[in-house]
Amino acid sequence: MSAGPSRTRRTWVLLLWLAAVLAGVAVISRTQFSADLSAFLPASPDARQRVLIEQLQSGVASRTLMVGLEGGKDALQRAEVSRALGKGMRASGLYEQVQNGDHSEWQEAGTFVFDRRYQLSPDVTPERFSVDGLRDALTDTMSMLGTPAGNLVRPLFERDPTGETQRIAEGLIPATSPRTEEGVWVSRTAPRAMLLATTKASGSDIDAQAIGIARIETEYAKATQGMGADAPKLQLSGAPVFSVQSRDKIKGEAIHLAIVGAIVMGCLLLAAFASPKALVIAVLPVLTGVVAGTAAVALVFGSVHGLTMGFGSTLIGETVDYAIYYLIQARGAAVRGTGWQRWRDLNWPTVRLGLLTSVCGFAALLFSGFPGLAQLGVFSIAGLVAAALVTRHGLPMLAPDGATGMGMRRHMARAASGIVEAMPRFRIGFLVLAVGAVALMAWQGGTLWRASLSSMSPISKASQELDASLREDIGASDGGTLVVIQAADEQATLRITEAAGQRLDALVGEGQLSGYETVTRMLPSVAAQQARIGSLPDAATLRTRVAQATEGMPLAPDRLEPFVASVEAARSLAPITREELAKGPMAPVVRALMFERPGGGWSSLIALHTTDRFEKAKLVTALAPLPEVQVVDIGAELGSLYDRYLHEAFVQVMLGALAVVVLLGLYLRSLRRLVAVCQPLLLAVVLTLGGMAALQVPLGILHLVGLLLIVAVGSNYALFFDQLQETGRADEDTLASLMLANLTTVVSFGLIAISDIPALSAIGRVVAPGALLALLLSAAFGKRRAR
């Protein structure tokens, strides 16, 4: 220790390091972690994608929970639990709306519709209030009296003989609603009662969603108290459940991976160094790297996506290499305490170059239009740079001569030498395999990259199936195709929505749609409301017309005096406004179907209930004359989004690879050495891809990121082999460090490969074999100098 770095310098470096780590931890502790798909949606979307993103982030679908009560004793018991659960949920105040088929909640809405019928009914026109129009309308309504449907009409007949309430209700009652049994919604296929709830909290507020979900579980426990084993089982699904599940799963998996990784890595390092101190030191750059990466992402993006965190565990594989290189290569100095100086002069340039190539590779991701990929880029760069800085400046202060113990290293070095000696013999074999791999990939062509966006979702298949089954039972419009209206202000949006609605009515008539939901049934534009009110005659005129219209009918005109009074009262009603509705029972519907856009302007949605005769092309043609109206096919839009994402990622990875090659060329200043370094990397990538193709693995964006990691990690190996060739010193320590570094990389990515989270396992399955191949190929293709 005597000749190590000076005491003052040591103190300063360590203090600075500690301060930096603490600052990082402070940043992280105040960071929001997200787990929704939104980080994987483009930052600069086109109009339709923007709609999609707004909907995914804050649309009603992102706040909708589906609840199933399955099994138990019988339908009656399920209905009782459903009612108790519904009551408890409504009382909690956490949900904007809780529906379970209990129509009592419609009473208030019904009063509103009845009171405002002359502003809401689309049938209110001047013609309707002419003598002929009145006669027609009366005949219509009377044709329902004395039929079962007439029971609803009869109590209102004197006040609403033209049937406006009926007309509005027709539009409001959804065409497809769940089966009803014992007064509550039930499944058509399973012994199950159903509830549908929308939370007040935004879909992107996962903490609030978790509270909303936990409340359902509490209320369920209360509702089933004392039922024991007879109680129906609670099933939950919907976007909020998925968000919470993904976050928990990613969190759990990240912790799990970190623990298992730490144990396995610890054992490896202990075996290698036989020194607990060395083990602790080796972990320091890793931890600093993870803290720096997370903090950097938090600072740049404001929040950290769960997947980025998961990715953090993959960084262990590369950052621990730096410590291993240092701890082994700084050993054996002639004068005690100078090992770090020797390492700094001899090996640091190679490590630094390896770092720079990695940074170059990941820098390409920074320019990604997808925040998710950009986060991975920032995380990796900050993490790698921090780990390298700690290795370069921090570790010499703690272990100036590297690790002292020998452990198994001699064996490792021997094994490594053996491999280095043996590998060149397999060159031809590798080349043949590579040719085969290229041929296989060429044959599979574009189908090789066939993984979809959903393959990145950590939601289990069972959860997805439950979701589909509950969705089917609810019969809610699946949101597959949406009609979206965007305009500068509220009234313009409403007017265009009304115009779109008229065109959709034609499609309903053709049987393409069974119905649709639009905000203008509750909130017509002021223009439409004024036109309706304007078509109402004054009391005296109406009275005369009613008398004429009822001539020859079995109906005395004075029975309709309440009608005349209602119309007269309606003539002085103020228009219905959004503010008024926001306070009443219609608030959830209005909020779901109309909203102010984050970037300014207003937007409304029309949810379609399609029949099996539905053709999207007809819908698009019908709405084509309205430029403010977009038809968004969510499945297709997500698909095209992913294709764009994949294409962009391809370009970035290519650019990243190109940057790596240029950097290596600048440093090596020799085409021969450049080829020697790049050759094994290229072959490792080709062989890995070939293996994936042979195993029929559908490849996606994360596999692509994995390939970039192979290049980043593998470039270190190739450069060390290059260094060995150039200096001619194939010393045991360097070989042992390479061997150990590779082992830890393969093990850490191997652990990720068996993760439950598809996004992580995709990276692991590419990098684990790829890194091993990169080392073997570097050994095989390193041009050996004559000894």
Binding site: T139, S143, P148, E170, V508, G511, L555
Partner: protein, 198 residues
């Protein structure tokens, strides 16, 4: 006979009138004709077309409200009621789907989401199909008369439906339904006369 006794054991003063009638039937074995037999007759008709006229007696109106149109049935579960006067209107039931067309607008609904509506449809559809199992799920039935002139009284089981309709009375001859009468709670009544097309 069997249905009469069943009604008896089930009790219920509201149905006392029908009970009495069915007990009388039971007393005369030569007249014995039960739901099973009636359904057997009805089930033989797989398809039918008819015209109908309807008179509805609604309180507060000075005279009956009239309607007429056509009916068609195809076993097992398609039923179309097409009203021609005073207002063209179509109600078509196919399986679990109900499509209503009136005043140039079409609306569809699923029957099982509105149990009381399903009950009403089944009163007609299950009777025409001769499906006693479905019929008995929604109604307490009472058969009076014999094969050449029968009356089938249906009292709703479902509380929502029975809060609207007191009784449905179908009448006919052999496998043909010739009349449907509905008594609503509150005193309104409708009488439909059916003439099968031959």
């Amino acid at each position: 006979m069997i249905s009469g006794l069943k009604t008896f054991t089930d009790g219920g003063l509201r149905r006392a009138r029908w009970m009495l009638v069915s007990l009388l039937c039971a007393a005369a074995p030569a007249w014995a004709f039960d739901l099973g037999e009636l359904m057997g007759l009805l089930a033989k008709q797989k398809q039918g077309e008819a015209t109908f006229t309807e008179q509805r007696y609604v309180r507060g109106f000075d005279g009956p409200l009239a309607a007429s149109g056509t009916l068609s049935f195809t076993a097992p579960d398609q039923l179309v009621r097409r009203t021609l006067t005073p207002r063209p209107e179509t109600m078509a039931v196919d399986g679990n789907n109900l499509v209503l067309s009136r005043s140039g607008r079409t609306r569809s609904m699923t029957l099982d989401s509105v149990p009381e509506l399903q009950g009403l449809v089944e009163a007609m559809r299950a009777t025409l199909a001769g499906n006693s199992q479905v019929l008995e799920r929604y109604f307490k039935s009472t058969v009076i008369g014999g094969a050449d002139a029968w009356t089938l009284d249906l009292a709703p089981v479902d509380s929502r439906l029975s809060s609207q309709i007191a009784v449905l009375r179908l009448s006919g001859k052999a496998g043909e339904v010739l009349g449907v009468e509905m008594e609503f709670r509150g005193g309104d009544r409708s009488v439909m006369t059916i003439v099968p097309k031959r």
